[in-house]
């Protein structure tokens, strides 16, 4: 299947009319992909009263904004959004569509991919344009979707050679934010929304939003614990250290699964991506899915009882020892020097 269209679309998600940070990150990446393909970058925006979001979409590199504004689209709802987005993609066949791997993106993208029968790769850690051979056929300018694979230190490159539309989701914080000095485009294409009965099958009875819960993403210091911390009680040491040095506590998926820490503080491919000044990894083996979320930290301290743990290959300071014994010494050392 070939697709003459070389356009890159980014689904720009919004809450209360404010576009999500991850959408700007995707536009920044989409800009580069579109330049490489020689196509245009289009931001797809659904909602109501989106003036500011539209302006920002241009600021982050869009050539064009596809705008579907209607009071009934003010808040994200699966059925109308997936019908509109799926319909537009099926009709216009962009070469690439990117979604944030958020609660909204992960609800919407698979439904749209199913409708358009497109390939969809979740939680990519890198996206590139490149040629590929597959089953002795050559394909030009494919989207190379890079993601850690289950199984040791393995990175898989996924392609969707035969699908006209290539889709991927990316977590917040993975792609770099690149604002343009001057807005690229100014074309706003308005697309009418015509409600259907089935759009309103699911109704919202109540919606409750809290303040953004944790500051792990923006913290200058992150103290992270893994399964090797052994218990929730030992995890308290991490909280103590973090509080003392002005950091936030985070963890691995194994620590989340063990109930040592809440899922919203998971760092890694399927959690948060952080780039703090200092990352302290305690009792963390350093699996590739975890490293994907922290290896760009300015400095990394690793504490692990196993001298061969892979985390030592990405750290700047390595301490071989029992984390439950080392952390109190760090705390003491810090207190002494504060005086």
């Amino acid at each position: 299947m070939s697709n003459a269209n070389r356009d890159v679309w980014v689904f720009v998600e919004q809450r209360d009319g404010r576009a999500a940070e991850v959408s700007f990150e995707l536009l920044s990446k989409g800009r580069k992909l579109a330049d490489q393909l020689g196509g245009s970058l289009k931001a797809l925006l659904l909602g109501h009263e989106l003036g500011e979001a539209v302006r920002q979409a241009f600021h982050y590199g869009s050539d064009e904004v596809l705008l579907v504004e209607h009071p009934e689209l003010r808040d994200y709802r699966t059925l109308p959004y997936s019908r509109v987005v799926g319909g537009l993609i099926a009709k216009q066949q962009p070469r690439i569509v990117l979604f944030g791997a958020t609660f909204i993106g992960r609800d919407l993208a698979p439904r749209v991919a199913s409708f358009t029968r497109s390939g969809l790769t979740a939680d990519c850690t890198d996206l590139q344009i490149g040629d590929a051979d597959y089953l002795r056929r050559e394909y030009k300018d494919l989207l190379l979707q890079v993601r850690p694979a289950f199984g040791g230190n393995i990175i898989a490159t996924i392609i969707t050679p035969e699908a006209p539309v290539q889709m991927a989701t990316v977590r917040e914080g993975v792609m770099e934010l690149v604002p343009q000095a001057t807005p690229r485009g100014e074309t706003v294409t308005r697309i009418p929304y015509e409600p259907t009965a089935s759009d309103n099958l699911v109704t919202v009875v109540e919606r409750h939003r809290e303040e953004r819960r944790n500051k792990v993403k923006s913290a200058p210091i992150v103290v992270a614990g893994g399964y090797g911390m052994g218990s929730k009680k030992n995890f308290a040491l991490l909280h103590q250290l973090a509080q003392l040095i002005g950091g936030e506590v985070a963890g691995t998926r194994a620590a989340v699964d063990a109930g040592f820490i809440t899922p919203d503080r998971q760092v890694g491919q399927t959690g948060l991506t952080v780039r703090p000044k200092l990352y302290i990894a305690c009792g963390i083996s350093g699996a590739i899915q975890h490293r994907a979320g922290m290896q760009e930290s300015t400095r990394i301290i690793a504490i692990n009882s196993d001298a061969d743990a892979p985390i030592f290959d990405v750290c700047h300071y390595g301490i071989v020892g029992d984390a439950a014994a080392v952390i109190p010494l760090l705390i003491d050392g810090y207190r002494e020097r504060l005086r």
Binding site: L79, D123, L278
Partner: protein, 296 residues
């Protein structure tokens, strides 16, 4: 009102327990050595379906697509209280990505149904994609509620569900039928019941009976299946011939995503400073970081 549910379940490698045996010397994982487990959120989904049944009546069916080995998972579903189980298994279904998987699952659901509710776990721990639920819903033209945390009410064919969103929660209301994907917090799966556990030990799927026939020339598959069906010990098994599917939409052939290549990551290694785990060593580290204004 009674409520008939079907629950999508998957057997996954236990990524949480990767032991020494499993790691190859080159740092890759030997999948064959990994224990296979009930995908945790699928188990929660089954629990929710069983709770609904306890409250409102109806029937719970568990459905999996997988290799013959996945029969283990279905026995576990029976021991927890599922009324019926079904294995979808065929070489032609192997190598499926989420799109091909949801296609085959949706055809199987259509064949086994109708159902009031389709349950699935939010995601499977071997891929974390969270795609199969919504894709199955789309293929069946059903509305979906993802990240379901609690079923608040079921009345007159209308369900009210509390679901998680990234900055809080929503309460949604929808008419049945509907597909729900369920998060880990939604329920605590019940342990298997001893009596049921014993009973389902001897339940077998078609590929398992076929293997018995292969090993014993005195057995005939048709009579063996008949026997197991009559004794209520047969796991219904659907192959490509039992489903109305287009072959080119199944398995590897029906999967648009392909693995182009797999790189092992070569870690730079050894480039770091070793800090002794002593009071002095750590004190010096703290001092260095304070001097560099990393903290302090």
């Amino acid at each position: 009102m009674s409520c008939n549910s079907i629950v999508l379940v998957k057997q996954v490698p236990d990524t949480a327990n990767i032991s020494g045996q499993v790691m190859r010397p080159d740092g890759t994982i030997n999948r064959a050595k990994l224990p296979a487990v009930f995908n945790p959120e699928d188990k929660v989904a089954l629990e929710l379906a069983l709770q609904l049944k306890d409250r409102y009546g109806g029937k719970v069916t568990a459905l999996t697509m997988g290799p013959p080995k996945a029969s283990d998972l279905l026995r576990e579903c029976l021991s927890m209280g599922a009324d019926e189980v079904c294995l979808v298994s065929d070489r032609k279904f192997a190598g499926a990505d989420t799109l091909a998987t949801s296609y085959v699952l949706s055809r199987a659901i259509a064949k086994l149904g109708p159902f009031d509710l389709v349950f699935a776990g939010r995601q499977a721990i071997d891929g974390d994609t969270a795609q199969v639920g919504p894709q199955t819903a789309e293929k069946l033209d059903l509305p979906q509620i993802t990240y379901a945390e609690q079923i608040l009410e079921l009345r007159d064919g209308v369900i009210t569900v509390k679901r998680r969103i990234d900055d809080g929660y929503e309460v949604l209301r929808a008419p049945l039928p509907l597909l729900l994907t369920v998060i880990a917090d939604a329920a605590l799966p019940r342990p298997p019941r001893a009596k049921r556990l014993m009973a389902c030990k001897h339940v077998r799927s078609l590929p398992e009976l076929e293997r018995m026939v292969d090993a014993n020339s005195l057995l005939y598959i048709d009579t063996l299946v008949d026997e197991y069906v009559q004794q209520g010990r047969f796991i219904r098994t659907l192959t490509v011939d039992d489903l109305e599917v287009e072959a080119e939409r199944c398995g590897l052939a029906g999967s648009p995503t392909k693995v182009k290549k797999v790189d092992s990551v070569v870690l730079t290694g050894g480039n770091h400073q070793r800090v002794p785990a002593t009071r002095e060593g750590l004190g010096q580290l703290v001092e260095e970081l304070m001097n560099d204004r990393v903290f302090g």
